[in-house]
Amino acid sequence: MQTIRLKLKEEVMSGNARIPVEVDSLTPDKLVGKNEAEIKAVKVWWGNKEENTGELFDVRVEGEAGSAEEVKIVMEGDLSRVKHIGDGMKAGEIEAIGDVDMHCGAMMTGGKITVKGNADCWAGREMKGGELIIEGDAGANLCAMYRGEITGMTGGKVTVGGDAGECVGQYMAGGEILIKGNAELLAGLNMHGGKITIEGDAVMPGADMTSGEITVKGKVQDMMPSFKFAEAATIEGEEYKKYIGDLAMTEKKAKGVLYVK
């Protein structure tokens, strides 16, 4: 096992402007086999300039790894303007201590990311596999598509310990999302596969869904007026109403399932 500790230097975020650092080049699969000096020389974008990782982060490497699976990256410091943590990651593990910025775990295909804090918008965007755990809240567009695409998340598992913003799982086609808190407007928008469970409340869930499954364990505010009640159902011993929708997409396409209390 190898642990790569990357601590963002304080001065990076000490100016009037908090310019984001973009770290899509710092995933276990991209760093495996590199020594400390080599990791320090990996380029990351800071605004419109590329900098050496070592210029922006304190880098410490412990242990050795034979493959990406054996690499764990621990990110520390003020990560609230560190974007693309684990973006495109294939294997291994990332632990981010604190709040992280946008696109955490975007397009990841494998491995595990744990965020010990909140994650800003587009966490898990177009995720294909692996696991993303956000212990705090998630911003908008969690596990959604990129603009214009018709496919969002296709695989993997995402757990949010707190609340999630608007459009959770938009255009989701596969995989699983669990929100332990509330979800804002339009969870599961355009969903056509996969499963979303919201333990708290949701607003207008399931709009334009054509397949997949959403379960809201808390209250639903503003139920979509274009869903059809199908039957009563029991899940984990509790009574739910099962709705089919969204009929606004035409009856032929409306194969989405929405369980509400």
Binding site: Y146, R147, G148, E149, I150
Partner: protein, 564 residues
């Protein structure tokens, strides 16, 4: 145009307009033009590689309102072609709908130096020209849409061919256009009410038929010595069984005498119009019937509009066709009807080799190229981006040149190709001379551009040259494809613009436009009616309508006198 002298030696030259078929031959260029000899030139050693005139694309959608709406609504396509700026090049984006810069660079890398923008809505002509100015390297022109215009419909109805002639002269001048473009005649006007027209249907409220429109515009076009014939997208595009309508349309203009030595009608993206069957279930290729017609007649040329498998962005002034396509896919759909003139529709589409219909479509385009015997009657296109992006041309070239490659591809596709298409049974393989014809010689001639220095390397021609990194003996389809994607050199007006597959210079292209010279008395009479249309029905004024000179900073004017 570059000043100075250039000598390209040791090339194997394919210059069909001048009958040069694979001859080892020097090419001399001075001040941007091909000359007999040079004295103190910069020398490029082609080293036995294939040399052709710069490519001329007869039909492509690269600039203007609907192209840009295609880019705008497809950020997901944009990210499939991102390239950072370099010291020479601006940023690039897009695959099926590349930005203007990428459009110029990628065409130039394939050895093309002229592209015809195939559909310009007159009311939005300024937009087309603004984009064209931003496309580096390529010389260009644009065809204004003239067939669904209320002025045209009125004159066709009243049978005033002379006044129709005055109108087309005016609108081609007002738009700085190149010729007469016809797209689903009558059908686009009908679409403004959500309807469509077959060839002999009556256009709602206008009491004319598409057949009458095509015939009248065919006659009117030949009143001038226009470099190009009418350029026609026939009715019922994309409908199973449409091949009959296609041939009936060709027949309409059979008796018209061309004003110059060329076709009377150029039929575009013919693949989409060569369909048999009665529905998508019994859909089949009728490329053989269309090719047979073209083989037996001299008044029609075609371009193939061949499919490139994969995702693309379809776009056409044929609004109802795009609506049908969107109804099949349910994907995003943009429509933009243009008052008194035309319209457009745009929707993304995935051509899949697993689909029987797409597979047959894929076969049809290539069948057309292979079954039309005389390559001077057929042009290579993908109707970019409708049947696929232009960046797929090298794939098509390799297919046409290699039966083996076609067989390998067919084996991976839906088996319908063996039952309902002719492609697997065709043995013909194109040679490089024929490829040069369908990508530059024929296209330049059909557009009348050969008289203006395009599509050949005779003395006086533009110094536009493509040097492909392959020997004439190359038979490996993969290597052929690679060579046609990125030239060893592309030379534009005597200046090296691509070297070893990289863009090294980005001069501005010229815009070719035609000035039909119409009789003043006729024009005056026509203007009375036209001004009334502006007064009551257009939403812009007559004086703000024509494209100002500022939009064509690099003009090349071709005068078209009235036929004597």
């Amino acid at each position: 145009m570059a000043e100075g002298e250039l000598l390209i030696k040791n090339g194997v030259v394919y210059d069909p307009i001048n009958g040069v078929n694979g001859e080892k031959k020097d090419i001399c260029i001075r001040d941007g033009k091909v000359v007999e000899s040079v004295k103190n030139p910069k020398v490029i050693d082609a080293g036995g590689r294939v040399v052709m005139p710069g490519g001329v694309d007869i039909h492509s959608h690269i600039a203007g309102g609907k192209v840009n709406s295609g880019r705008l609504f497809r950020p997901e396509d944009g990210r499939r072609g991102l390239e950072a700026k370099t010291k020479v090049c601006r940023m690039q984006s897009g695959y099926s709908v590349p930005n203007t810069f990428a459009t110029g660079y990628r065409y130039a890398k394939m050895g093309y130096t002229f592209v015809m923008e195939a559909a310009m809505p007159p009311l939005a002509a300024r937009h087309t020209h603004e984009e064209i100015v931003d496309i580096p390297i390529l010389d260009n022109a644009a065809l204004p849409l003239i067939d669904n215009n209320w002025m045209t419909l009125d004159y066709v109805k009243s049978g005033d061919i002379d006044l129709l002639t005055a109108y087309i002269a005016w609108i081609i001048k007002a738009t700085k256009g190149y010729g007469v473009k016809i797209v689903n005649p009558g059908g686009t006007e009908a679409w403004a009410w959500g309807k469509n027209c077959d060839l002999n249907d009556t256009v709602p409220y206008f009491d004319v038929t598409p057949a009458e429109i095509v015939k009248s515009l065919g006659e009117a076009n030949e009143k001038f010595e226009m470099p190009h014939s009418i350029h026609v997208h026939t009715n019922m595009l994309g409908h199973p069984g449409n091949f009959g309508v296609t041939m009936a349309t060709y027949d309409l203009v059979k008796g018209i005498k061309p004003s110059k030595d060329r076709q009377v009608l150029h039929a575009t993206h013919t693949q989409f119009h060569s369909y048999g069957g009665t529905n998508w279930g019994d859909f089949e290729s009728k490329a053989d019937a269309i090719a047979d017609y073209v083989n037996k007649n001299e008044h029609v040329t075609i371009d193939i509009g061949s499919i490139i498998l994969g995702d693309t962005t379809t776009m056409t002034a044929d609004g109802p066709m795009e609506y049908s396509l969107y109804q099949i896919t349910g994907r995003k759909w943009t429509n933009h009807d243009v008052e008194l003139e035309t319209g457009s529709g745009i929707t993304p589409f995935l051509y899949s080799g697993k689909s029987p219909v797409n597979t047959i479509q894929w076969a049809i385009g290539q069948e057309l190229a292979l079954l039309v015997k005389d390559p001077w009657k057929v042009a290579l296109t993908t109707d970019h981006p409708n049947a696929g992006p232009f960046i797929g041309y090298p794939i098509l070239i390799s297919m046409l040149m290699s039966k083996k490659r076609r067989e390998e591809s067919a084996a991976d596709m839906h088996s319908a190709i063996y039952d309902r298409a002719a492609l697997p049974s065709i043995d013909r393989e194109y040679d490089l001379y024929e490829i040069a014809i369908i990508t530059r010689g024929m296209t330049a001639k059909a557009l009348g551009l050969h008289e203006h220095g395009k599509g050949h390397l005779g003395v006086g021609a533009d110094g536009d040259v493509a040097i492909y990194d392959m020997s004439p003996e190359e038979r490996d389809a993969g290597k052929i494809q690679k060579a046609f994607l990125n030239t060893k050199y592309t030379i534009k007006g005597g200046e090296v613009v691509v070297k070893d597959g990289e863009v090294v210079a980005t001069p501005a292209g010229k815009t070719y436009f035609v000035t039909p010279e119409c009789d003043d008395t006729l024009t005056e009479e026509m203007l009375k009616k036209l001004k009334d249309k502006f007064e009551h029905y257009y939403s812009v004024t007559f004086n703000n309508y024509p494209v100002q000179d500022a939009y064509v900073p690099n003009p090349y004017e071709i005068k078209a006198p009235m036929r004597g």
